[in-house]
């Protein structure tokens, strides 16, 4: 099979068919549709409780043309482990993929995920990160960014939005030393394709982290879904890299860091944010930026902050992003 480099190299067969119930402009649907195109027919899908189950698998039909299973919320790492063990014993080589939300990955499913990563199970784990519990109506998760409104981090008179920063799930995964882990954006088409293809080809535990903007949850315009994903990368809210056998590699580096407000203003969930909170988020982003892209290039938007390299996990130091 020749390597996929651009959209044009992608298979045209849809394994995730039209007719799903996602909101118009759903970023998760964009991600799932393309991941399934690349994984192809020889795939077995597990989806935990999340928007994805509800929009795509309601008895008696589903949008997945592949085998499909759902059981609960917190067990993607475990169920996929079981499926893969059985299929290996039966001589099947199918890609077993778990398509989990951020809640099912960062929070309630972290234990089963860690177990699967630690055992280096031969599965592909995809985290569809819409930065909140959307299926239950937009509640905060460990993936929700600082400042964001959700129904459990409401904009009140005393407290406005989420007070904690987004959990670095990739660092946690990296600490398990998996054969492959990568972050993806639906706005970086070719990068997306290459990473999914790589993840499909590798053996052992593979992790893909894809940002999937959510129209009602982010209070955004449906037409802006891909643009928001693109802007996340340009402002450093999302970074594109991959970790392959312990080596971390940046796959796309923006020319200059755009101010975070360029990203925030596209979404209603940040509309209330005061200057102080915006500055706090910008500072956090600058630290993240230098960690990922290095100190070599001064970023004007970071000029007011003390330049420091904040390492959240000793492992990240070893991963030396290049």
């Amino acid at each position: 099979m020749s390597e996929m480099r651009t959209i044009k190299d992608m298979p045209v067969n849809d394994m995730f068919v039209s007719g799903h119930g996602a909101c118009a402009g759903c970023g998760m649907a964009v991600a799932v549709k393309n991941i399934m195109r690349i994984l192809g027919a020889d795939t077995t899908v597990y989806v935990p409780a999340s928007c994805l189950v509800v929009i795509s698998a309601m008895y008696p039909t589903s949008n997945f043309r592949t085998p499909y299973l759902f059981t609960a919320f917190e067990n993607t790492g475990a169920v996929t482990t079981g499926i893969r063990a059985a299929q290996r014993r039966r001589g099947l080589s199918s890609t077993v993929v778990g398509l989990a939300g951020d809640g099912g990955t960062f929070d309630i499913g972290l234990q089963a995920l860690s177990g699967a990563a630690e055992r280096n199970e031969d599965i592909l784990y995809v985290c569809l990160d819409n930065e909140g519990y959307m299926n239950t109506g937009i509640q905060r998760s460990g993936a929700t960014p600082f400042g964001a409104w959700t129904t459990t981090t409401p904009v009140g008179t005393k407290v406005e939005g989420k007070r904690e920063f987004k959990k670095d799930i990739m660092a946690i995964i990296a600490a398990h030393d998996p054969p492959y882990a990568a972050s993806l954006s639906i706005a970086h088409f070719n990068d997306f394709i290459k990473k999914v293809e790589k993840a499909k080809a590798k053996k052992g535990f593979r992790f893909l982290h894809v940002m999937t903007p959510c129209v009602p949850g982010w209070r955004s315009d449906p037409s802006m879904t891909v643009e928001i994903a693109r802007m996340a990368v340009e402002t450093g809210m999302w970074t594109l890299y991959e970790i392959e056998d312990g080596e971390a590699r940046t796959t796309y580096k923006p020319q200059t860091m755009l101010p975070v407000t360029d990203y925030l203003k596209l979404q209603g969930r940040f509309r209330h944010m005061e200057n102080g909170d915006v500055a706090k988020l910008q500072e956090w982003l600058c630290a993240k930026w230098y960690l990922h892209y290095g100190n070599d290039m001064e970023q004007p938007v970071c000029a007011t902050f003390e330049k420091m390299k904040r390492v959240r996990h000793p492992h990240e130091e070893q991963l030396h992003f290049i």
């Binding site: 027919a41 795939t43 008895y59 043309r65 475990a78 482990t81 499926i83 199918s94 234990q111 089963a112």
Partner: protein
């Protein structure tokens, strides 16, 4: 056949090995741990060709079991108490998905005021999950019931998971004589595993999506009927087992010296063995005492109990767990089953939290039931071996 002196935990592990289990997800918990340790040994010594998956929790154990069973292989696992409770959410996914998983639950008390000792409140809490539940009396039955569980679970008329319940420590850590069947015998008794539904990209299936109200009710009734029809298969499997191995357990219930009995106890688990001995003593004193052994809590033997109690004046029901303010779960279900039979039913709670049940306790139970059989007024439910007078 090989004669061994082993614990029930080991007997169960041998059964899982003889059944050629293919995937064993596991997590340790006393007093079950010996089972998965033994299976790990079998696998690492090459005596059993299976995948041993050391999970991160019992929730993951049952999730892996579901994944592997849906993936088309024979799955066995074991747990106890808090582990079973942690599986609770996943237990419910299995029967409706019709996955024939076999699991041993080594009974142990659950909750606060709990320890590591036997009580049935762990498995009783799961009796409406759709799993079939069998309770065993001794180590030989632990082995035999596990083998039969595979045959029963995988029967196309059943396709339901089976939970084999055995007393923590009293069986799990007690060694006694166990006759170990030969592999060829077991292979004849238990055919090669053929999945009914499986996740295979060459024949894609949609398994267990969200089910809206338009379908869920019919599916539940289907499950209700499947559990009901497993009654016939249980009887068949018992006969088949007797033919192959020469041992029979009577199906849903078994009886002991019940033919001309005027009163009897109904017991489950190891209390049955004790009751047998007490019945013998009572009989030698000329009393018309008998015994019913409840093997399956699910399917519940409604018809069999009515038939067995036809000529009984009174029946005492033993429980090793409490329903709180209503006696025990077995008592309430037996009383409901016998509502159209004139037999007086009394409840007897004993052995809670691992408290030893002595011959005197059992004797006390029989004495109360005897009084009831003579029409004397007795307590509806008595706690035996309790310090202080009952209220």
């Amino acid at each position: 056949m090989k004669v061994m002196v082993i614990s029930a935990d080991h007997a169960v592990a041998y059964a899982a090995k003889l059944a050629r289990t293919e995937v064993v997800p596991s997590f340790p918990i006393t007093p079950q741990t010996l089972i998965v340790e033994q299976l790990a040994e079998f696998i690492n010594d090459g005596e059993l060709d299976a995948d041993f998956i050391p999970a991160d929790s019992e929730h993951s154990v049952m999730s892996m079991a579901v994944g592997a069973s849906a993936g088309g292989v024979r799955v066995f696992t074991a747990t106890s108490s808090q582990g079973l409770a942690l599986m609770h959410e996943m237990l419910y996914a299995v029967p409706q998905s019709r996955l024939p998983i076999v699991m041993a639950n080594v009974n142990r008390s659950l909750g606060a005021a709990s320890g590591i000792w036997v009580e049935y409140n762990d498995s009783m809490a799961e009796r409406d999950s759709g799993w079939l539940q069998v309770y065993v009396e001794d180590n030989q039955e632990a082995l035999d019931a596990t083998l039969m569980a595979f045959r029963l679970a995988e029967d196309r008329r059943v396709l339901l998971p089976v939970m084999v319940c055995l007393d923590g420590f009293i069986l799990s850590h007690t060694v006694e004589r166990v006759d170990l069947p030969e592999q060829e015998e077991v292979d004849r008794f238990l055919p090669k595993f053929v999945p009914y539904n499986m996740l295979d990209p060459s024949d894609p299936k949609l398994m267990n999506p969200i089910v809206p109200p338009e379908y869920a009710m019919e599916m539940r009734y289907q499950l209700d009927r499947a559990v009901e029809h497993s009654r016939e298969v249980i009887a068949e499997v018992d006969e088949l087992f007797a033919r192959e191995f020469g041992r029979s357990y009577g199906g849903l219930i078994d009886t002991y010296r019940l033919e001309d009995a005027e009163y009897a106890m109904l017991t489950l688990g190891t209390a049955t063995g004790l009751a047998r001995q007490v019945v013998d003593e009572l009989r030698s004193e000329g009393k018309k005492a008998g015994l019913i052994k409840l093997r399956f809590m699910r399917p519940f033997p409604f018809k069999e109990l009515c038939a067995a109690c036809r000529d009984l004046k009174a029946l005492g029901v033993f429980d090793r767990s409490a329903s709180f303010n209503g006696g025990g779960p077995v008592y309430t279900e037996v009383a409901a089953a016998l509502c159209n039979v004139p037999t007086t039913v009394t409840g007897h709670v004993a052995g809670i939290g691992g408290r030893d049940i002595t011959p005197e306790h059992m004797r006390e139970m029989y004495d109360i039931v005897e009084k009831a059989s003579r029409g004397e007024k007795v307590r509806p439910v008595t706690w035996h071996g309790l310090r202080g007078d009952m209220e």
